[in-house]
Amino acid sequence: MKTQGQNLLFLLFLLTSVMGYSQVKISGKVSFKNKGVAEVNVTLKDTYDGTTTDAQGNFTFETSEKGTHIITFTHPKYENIERSVSIENQDVSLNVDLKEQISEIDAVVVSAGSIEASDKKRATALLTPIDIYTTAGADGQISSALTYLPGVQKVGGTEGLFIRGGTGTESKIFMDGSLINNYFSNSVPGIAGRDQFNTSLFKGNIFSSGGYSALYGQALSGALMLESVDLPDETSYNFGISPIFLNAGFQKLGDHKNYSYGATAGYSLLSLMQKVFKFNTDFVEAPQGFNGDLNFRFKTKSGGFFKYYGMFNSNKMGVRSESLEPGYDFSLVKLNGKNTFHNLSFRQKFGKYLLNVGGSYSYNRSDLHFSTETNDIESSRSQLLTDGNYLNFKAVLERKINRISAVRGGIELNNTDENLNFEAVQKHYKDLISSAFVETDLGFSNALSAKIGVRAEHSSFLGKNNIAPRFAIAYRLAKDWTTSFAYGLFYQNPESKYINGPANLGFQKSQHYIFQVQRASEGRTLRFEAFYKKYDQLIKTFNVTPDKEQNQQIQTALNNDGYGFAKGLEFFWRDNKKTFENIDYWISYSYLDSKRDFLNYPVSLQPGFAAQHTLSAVAKRFIPEWKLGVNLSYTYAKGRPYYDIASTFDNGKAINYTRNEGRLKDYNALNFSINYLPNIGKKDAKSFPVFVLSVSNILGSKNVYGYNFSADGSRSSAIVPPVNTFVFIGAFISFGVDKTDDAINNNL
C-alpha cells in the first residue's frame, strides 16, 4: 500500500509534468510610435522562456508554463514594460508599445553656433589639442587653428578671433569658466600677438561662433571656452628646442593619483632666423620673450577638486619702418610687455548639485616707446604705458533634474582697473561688471531639447544694467541629422581704449539668429549654418590728431549711435579617415555679408576685417611605415576693404570722412608641415622625440593685411606679415610618458 501510494504520487507528478509539456505559443509585436522595435528582450518572468524581437518588432516563442505570468519587455533604449498574461491552452497574442528612455548618449544636443571639441561629443569631436598641433599653418596655437573653421576670419595684423563680421575684441576666451583677460601676448601695431597659453594645457574646448550660453557674457560675437586638463596621466619631463626657442618642463603625479604639480619655463629669440630669412619687418630689436608657468591640482577627501594655474610672460621687440611723415626717415616703436595670469578653480558634487567656483587675477603691462630716426639720429622717445589689473570671480551651481535636464545659475564679477600714461595724458579707467545668470537645459525626448537662459549685468563704469535672454532648440530629424536654432541678446561694454574723454555711453548690443542643419555619422561631419546678426548701440568715435611719431590713430568715443548687421552662410565638411585610408581632411567655406556704421566710419560700410568669402581646407595623413605625419592646409579669403578715415570739426562737432579707400588683394596661403616620431614603437625607448618641420605660406604669396596712412593721408604703406614664407624646425622630447601608443591609437 505504501508503495502504491508512492507510485500514485509519482504518476500524478509525471502526469502534471507531461501535461506541462503541452506548448502554448506566445506572439506579438513590440513597437514605438507605430514602428516595430528590433532586439527587444521578451521574457516570461522567472522562466527560461522568451525571445528577441526581429527587425520588424515581431516575436514568437513557446512555453509550457500555465497560469498567470508576467512578460517583460526590455531594451536599453526604452523603458521596461511588464504585462500580465494568463496562459491556458490557447495561443496568446499581445502587442505592446514602448516608451523611450531619455538618455545622455542619445539625446540631441543644441549645436547651433557651437563646435565642441571634447570627448563628450565622441567621434564627431573637432579640433582636439592633437588636431591643433597637426594643422599646418596653425603654429600649434588654438586661435590660429580656429581660423580653419567656418565663421572665423583670417585677419592678420591684429590678434583675436574675428567671428562673423565681429572685431577681434568682440570674442572672449575663458579658462574653466573664468575670463582670460589677456589671452594674447602684447605686441606692436601691425603685428599680431601670439597665444600665451599652451595648447596642451586644455583637454577640450567649446568654440561658439554665436548664440552662446548665458553663463558667458561681454562678447558680442562669440566665445571660446577652454577646459583645462585634470590630473596628468603620468609623471613626465619634457623639453623643446628650435632655432627660435628653448623650453623645458615637468609634471609630477602623486603616488595615489590624487594630486599633481608641474612647471615649465621657456625662452624665445628670433634673431637667428632673421639672419636666414628675408623679413618684411625690420626688427631693430628681435622679438624675444621669457615665459614660465606653474600648476597644481588636487582632490580633497570629500571629492572636491582644486586646480591652480599661474603663468608669467615677458616679451620685447623693436620695429623700424619707413616714416610716412615728411622730414623723418624712419619711425620706430619699441615694446616691453609683461603679463601674468593666475587662475584657481574648485568643483565638487553634492548629491544632485554640482558646484563650480573659480577666480582669476591677471596683470598686463605694455610699455611702448615711439620715436623717429632722421639721418641715423634717433629723436627723443615718447612713451605709451598701459597697465591693467583684472580680477574675475565666478560661481555656478548646477542641479540635475533628470538624465538630460538640468538647471544652473550663478554670479560673475569682473573688475577692471587700467592706467594709461601718454605724455601729459593720464587715464585711469575702472569698471566692475557684476552679472547674474540662470539657464536650464530641457530634454523633452531624445529627439527634442532646448536651452533657455537669461543673463543680467551691471557695469559700474556705465552705471547701467542689461538683461539678455537666450534661447536654443535642437531637434533630431533622422538618425544622423539634427537641426537647431539659437537666438540671443548679447551685450558688451565699449572698449576702454576708446574712452578718452567724457561721453555718455552704454552697452553695445547684438542679436543673433542662427539656424543649423548637421549630419554627424561615423567619422564624418557635414554642417550648414545660416545666421543673421544685428548690431545696435555700437560706439561712434572721432579721431584725435595722431602724434606724428606714431602713425596710429587715437580714437575717442562720442556716443552709442552705431549700428550694423552681418549675415551669412557657412559650410563645413570633415571626413576623418573614412573615405581615404589614414587621411583626415576638412573643408570649410563661409560667406559673409556685413555692414556697419561704427567707430569713425562716416557711413555704413563693409568693415575692414570682414572678408566676403573665406575658404579653407586642411588635410592630414600619417604614414606608419615612415613614422611620419604629413599635413597641408590652404586658406583663401577674398580681399577686404580698407579705409583711411579722418575727422574734421565743424562748430565743435566731429565729422568723419573717408580720405582714401580701396580693396586689398585676395589672401592666399598654402602651409605644410611634417612630424617625425622616430621612437614610435620602440617599447624600451626612454625618450620620445617628435621632430617638426613646418613651412607656412609655401608658395610665397605676398599677402597684405591693410594699409597705414600718413597724418595727412597723402602717403601710405602696406601692413604685411613680418615674413612671407617661414620655416620652422624644432624637436620636442618627452621622458616618462610613452607617447607610442598615443601615436598609434591616433593614427589607427
Partner: protein, 219 residues
C-alpha cells in the same frame, strides 16, 4: 506520515534536480551558440537569452558573464565594421552584466577581469586619441589583474596575442610575434580544463584560426 513527508521531499529533490538539469541543458545549448553567431543581431539575441536565464537564476554568475561576453562580441563585430560610435552603449551594457557577475563570483575572477579589459578596449576605440590614457589604461590594469589571478588562463593569452598581432610593426607589434603568442595560447588551451562544463571555455577556435592562416597572409 513520516514516509509521506519523505516521498514529498524526494519529489522535491527530483524537481530541483530537474530544474538543475534544465539549467545545464539550456546553458550548454546557448553556450554552443556563441560559435555560430556572426552578426551583431545574433549576439544581441544571445545576450538577451543569457539575460533571461540570469534573471531566473539570480544566484549564478555564468548567465551574467555570458550576457556580458555576448555584448562584447557584438561590440567587436561592430568595431570590425568600423561602427565605433555605438560602442559606448554596448560597453555600458556589458559592464552592467559584468558587475552582476562580479557580485556573484567575487572580485578575484580572472575571466571577469578579462571581459572588463575587452570592454574598456571597446570604449577606447570610440576615440582612441582622447581615451588612450583613460580607457586604455583601465584596459591594461584589468589585463594585469586577470593575468595575475590566473597566469595559465588561455583566454588571457589569446587576447594579449590579438593585441600584439593587430598592432603594426612600427609600433612594436608584429604578426610574427602575435603568432608566437597565439601558439602559446593554443598550448594553454590544450592544457586547460574548465572547472565545470559551463565555465568559460571560448577562444580556442580563434587561436586555431590565426595559426591556420596561410604564411603570406600572416606577414
Amino acid at each position: 506520515m513520516k514516509k509521506y513527508l519523505l516521498s514529498f521531499a524526494l519529489a522535491f529533490v527530483s524537481l530541483t534536480a530537474f530544474a538543475q538539469a534544465d539549467y545545464d541543458k539550456i546553458m550548454t545549448e546557448k553556450i554552443a551558440k556563441i560559435e555560430t553567431c556572426k552578426t551583431p543581431e545574433d549576439f544581441q539575441t544571445l545576450a538577451n537569452d543569457f539575460q533571461r536565464i540570469g534573471s531566473k537564476e539570480s544566484t549564478k554568475w555564468l548567465p551574467a558573464y555570458y550576457a556580458a561576453f555576448s555584448y562584447i562580441q557584438k561590440g567587436r563585430t561592430m568595431m570590425r565594421d568600423g561602427k565605433m560610435q555605438d560602442l559606448d552603449g554596448i560597453a555600458d551594457q556589458a559592464e552592467k552584466h559584468l558587475s552582476m557577475a562580479q557580485n556573484l563570483a567575487g572580485a578575484d575572477n580572472a575571466e571577469i577581469h578579462l571581459l572588463r579589459k575587452m570592454s574598456y578596449s571597446l570604449r577606447m576605440m570610440v576615440n582612441p586619441a582622447q581615451r588612450y590614457m583613460t580607457d586604455g589604461a583601465r584596459a591594461a590594469e584589468e589585463m594585469n589583474a586577470a593575468e595575475k589571478l590566473d597566469p595559465a588562463n588561455p583566454r588571457v593569452a589569446l587576447i594579449k596575442a590579438e593585441d600584439v598581432y593587430f598592432t603594426p610593426e612600427q609600433y612594436g607589434g608584429s604578426k610574427t610575434k602575435g603568432l608566437e603568442m597565439f601558439k602559446d595560447a593554443q598550448a594553454k588551451f590544450n592544457a586547460y580544463k574548465p572547472k565545470t562544463a559551463l565555465d568559460p571555455n571560448w577562444g580556442k577556435a580563434e587561436a586555431d584560426y590565426f595559426l591556420s592562416l596561410p604564411a603570406e597572409k600572416a606577414k
